[in-house]
């Protein structure tokens, strides 16, 4: 399934998975996101880059409505997933988050066993009728996350006892276990060493076959390595969005160029 050109062609033809129009996000009186329009292609990796405080994480969190948990946060505009507005009054954020999974900056496994970490999502969504089905989901999620060989003999050990990289891959397995369509990753490698980072990046590349992935990263090399498309944010504005190659080799905007050449940020 490594026919990259075909895949890109296919994705260009099909309609986008996520489509944001005129998105504004306010924290109280302060506007954090200004007029963001973006189309995110299915079964691809889109990277959000930009200096700290540019709003890329904030925008990421609007896609699964994690910002709802912040009292003073307000979102305007429309974000559609498969043509459905996720801020519609009929949409339950809990249901949305099962469809749009999330991996956080710091590995945050539950203080439970490895098995229970992965099984938690399927359990609360009633995805398994019996123990053996649940076992299958756990096993396949861990396999997809590339963690199975390392943990298959110690599934009952606490997830918090693993190394940072393993914990982050466990969090990815946990997100995969509820069969999401989109996975949001908020700087998933910022707390990891280079070897663990390489493993997670490899994993992201594999997951692209089945999931739409949006990743926020501070590392431009990482964005270049894992993503097909890149969006550059600055001061709450989406400055430029395009194929990763274009952004890094031939940026249209001066600010993008300054950022990727390390002149600020």
């Amino acid at each position: 399934m490594n026919e990259m050109p075909n895949l890109e062609q296919a994705s260009a033809m099909t309609s986008s998975k996520i489509s944001a129009k005129k998105v504004q996000v306010y924290y109280g009186d302060k506007q954090a996101i200004i007029d963001v329009d973006i189309e995110i292609q299915p079964r691809s990796v889109t990277a959000f880059i930009g200096p700290s405080g540019c709003g890329k994480s904030t925008f990421l969190r609007t896609i699964n409505r994690m910002n709802d948990t912040i009292d003073i946060c307000r979102v305007e505009g429309s974000i559609k997933i498969d043509g459905e507005d996720i801020y519609d009054a009929k949409v339950d954020p809990v249901q949305l988050r099962a469809k749009v999974g999330m991996v956080f900056q710091k590995p945050n496994p539950f203080p439970k066993s490895i098995y229970d970490n992965v099984a938690y999502g399927p359990r609360i969504h009633g995805m398994a009728r019996n123990k053996s089905q649940l076992d299958d989901i756990v096993a396949s999620s861990l396999q997809k996350a590339g963690l199975w060989e390392e943990v298959k003999n110690r599934l009952d050990e606490p997830g918090t006892g693993m190394s940072g990289g393993q914990q982050q891959r466990l969090c990815i397995a946990r997100a995969i276990a509820v069969s999401p369509e989109v996975i949001l990753m908020d700087e998933p490698c910022s707390a990891l060493d280079p070897i663990a980072t390489a493993k997670v990046e490899e994993l992201i590349d594999e997951l692209r076959e089945n999931y739409t992935i949006v990743i926020v990263t501070h590392s431009m090399q990482q964005a270049a390595r894992v993503s097909q498309r890149t969006a550059f944010f600055h001061l709450g504005v989406l400055v430029e969005e395009g194929s990763t190659q274009d952004i890094f080799t031939n940026p249209k905007d001066k600010r993008t160029q300054d950022y990727i050449t390390g002149r600020f940020g």
Partner: protein, 449 residues
């Protein structure tokens, strides 16, 4: 000494060489000062701990030395045989109990002579030592006619002053002759002790029994009020834990931040500082006078103490909910858990050790609370119909340990003072058991990390 003999190591500054780097071997003034103040502070702390320990030891010694006598009682044990004829003859007498008392005295005399002692005594002296014995003996044989003709052993409680004499509270010097006990009686007591007729045994009645009247300190026990306290603690636990935890979860996780919730928060903190007697009078007005719940009942006591404990539990529960890292909430929400699921599956279990600590502190406070109980009538209680009368439940009149201790301490007879100290030992044991239980529970929850 002259300048020429000063070596650079001993006094680098005096050498006057500004360009010379400072030696790390010599402490400068600021460092020396800082080290000294650090050391001083360490000793202050150590001193504070030692003072605390000293008072703890003094308290423990006082409680134990004063309270131990409450756990022993002095009995007079006499064994004798009553035949059918003797029984019939005694039943024909006009003063029947007098006749039985004579049997007892004869048996006592016999046992004394057997062991070669000879002390002159009369019926009056025996009455002062063990009280009127005839009634007890007669009742025993009336109830068990089969025991006639066989040796029967009688254990009778010695009077309060004899009890005091045997545990050192009463001495020959302090005893003044009275109708309760005369100095000459002590010779008889000494002789009886030597022959083993009077002996000191463990006072089970103190642990299991109920309070007695003011004239019978020997028969007073704390058991009834232990049960009363236990029932109250059950009420407090089962009301204040769910209410307190639910209130904290709402305030911490769901409530919007506005003036109304701010006011609630301030008032919860205020409630924690309200004197307990205020809760007592509130309980009297609301639960007894308005709702007509029975007086002196552990249920009402428990309700009042629940009101008192709630703020403590809410404050500590909120603090421990706050301490759960937000990343755990994010993680749960991220896989599509609802807010309630994230709280009940993840946040609450992690906050459990803290909640338990707060609960146990609240319960311990409630257990030792006396003032509110005075107002709802759980004090000055003498159990009638013991052991069936008091133990039946939440709405039967009862007392509580601290209230019982207060009652005893207020009574005139010095023997009750001993009981009060003994009661405190039981109270502390109860408290310690509760705390140990809490520690065990906490360990179990903490292992989940």
């Amino acid at each position: 000494m002259t300048d020429t003999t000063l070596s650079p190591e001993t006094s680098p500054a005096a050498a006057g060489d500004a360009a010379k780097p400072k030696s790390l071997y010599a402490l400068d003034d600021l460092t020396r000062k800082r080290n000294a103040s650090e050391k001083r502070f360490k000793y202050y702390g150590l001193g504070a701990v030692l003072i605390g320990l000293f008072f703890l030891v003094v308290l423990a010694t006082a409680i134990i030395s004063e309270g131990i006598p409450a756990f022993t009682r002095t009995i007079v044990e006499v064994e004798f045989t009553l035949t059918q004829e003797q029984y019939d003859a005694a039943e024909k007498e006009l003063f029947k109990t007098k006749a039985y008392e004579q049997f007892f005295i004869n048996a006592l005399q016999g046992q004394l002579e057997e062991s070669g002692m000879s002390v002159p005594f009369d019926a009056k002296a025996i009455e002062r030592i063990v009280g009127k014995t005839g009634g007890t003996i007669r009742e025993y044989f009336k109830a068990n006619p089969g025991a006639l003709g066989a040796p029967a052993a009688f254990e009778l409680a010695a009077s309060s002053r004899v009890d005091g004499y045997s545990n050192g509270r009463v001495t020959r010097e302090t005893l003044t002759d009275s109708r309760f006990l005369e100095k000459s009686d002590l010779d008889i007591v000494d002789a009886l002790v030597e022959t083993g007729i009077i002996k000191t045994v463990f006072n089970w009645n103190f642990i299991t029994g109920a309070d007695s009247g003011v004239d019978n300190p020997g028969g007073a026990g704390i058991g009834a009020s232990v049960v009363g306290s236990f029932f109250m603690m059950l009420v407090v636990l089962f009301l204040s834990l769910p209410i307190g935890v639910a209130a904290s979860i709402y305030l911490e996780e769901f409530a919007p931040q506005n003036r109304f919730t701010d006011m609630i928060e301030v008032n919860i903190s205020n409630l924690a500082a309200v004197p307990s007697i205020v809760f007592g009078i509130l309980g009297l007005a609301v639960f007894i006078q308005f709702m007509h719940l029975p007086q002196s009942a552990p249920l009402v006591g428990g309700l009042v103490l629940t009101l008192m404990t709630l703020p403590t539990i809410i404050i500590s529960t909120r603090a421990s909910l706050k301490a759960v890292p937000p990343s755990i909430r994010d993680a749960a929400l991220g896989v599509g858990a609802s807010k309630m699921q994230s709280i009940f599956h993840h946040v609450l279990p992690l906050a459990m050790p803290g909640i338990l600590t707060g609960t146990i502190i609240g319960l311990a406070q409630a257990l030792g609370e006396t003032a509110p109980l005075l107002l709802i009538g759980m004090v000055g209680f003498v159990a009638r119909g013991y052991p069936d009368g008091f133990i039946t439940g939440f709405i039967e009149p009862n007392s509580a340990m601290p209230a019982q201790i207060y009652t005893w301490a207020a009574r005139a007879d010095y023997a009750f003072y001993e009981k009060a100290w003994g009661g405190i030992i039981i109270l502390l044991v109860f408290l310690l058991t509760m705390n140990i239980l809490a520690v065990i529970l906490r360990r179990r929850f903490e292992r989940r990390w």
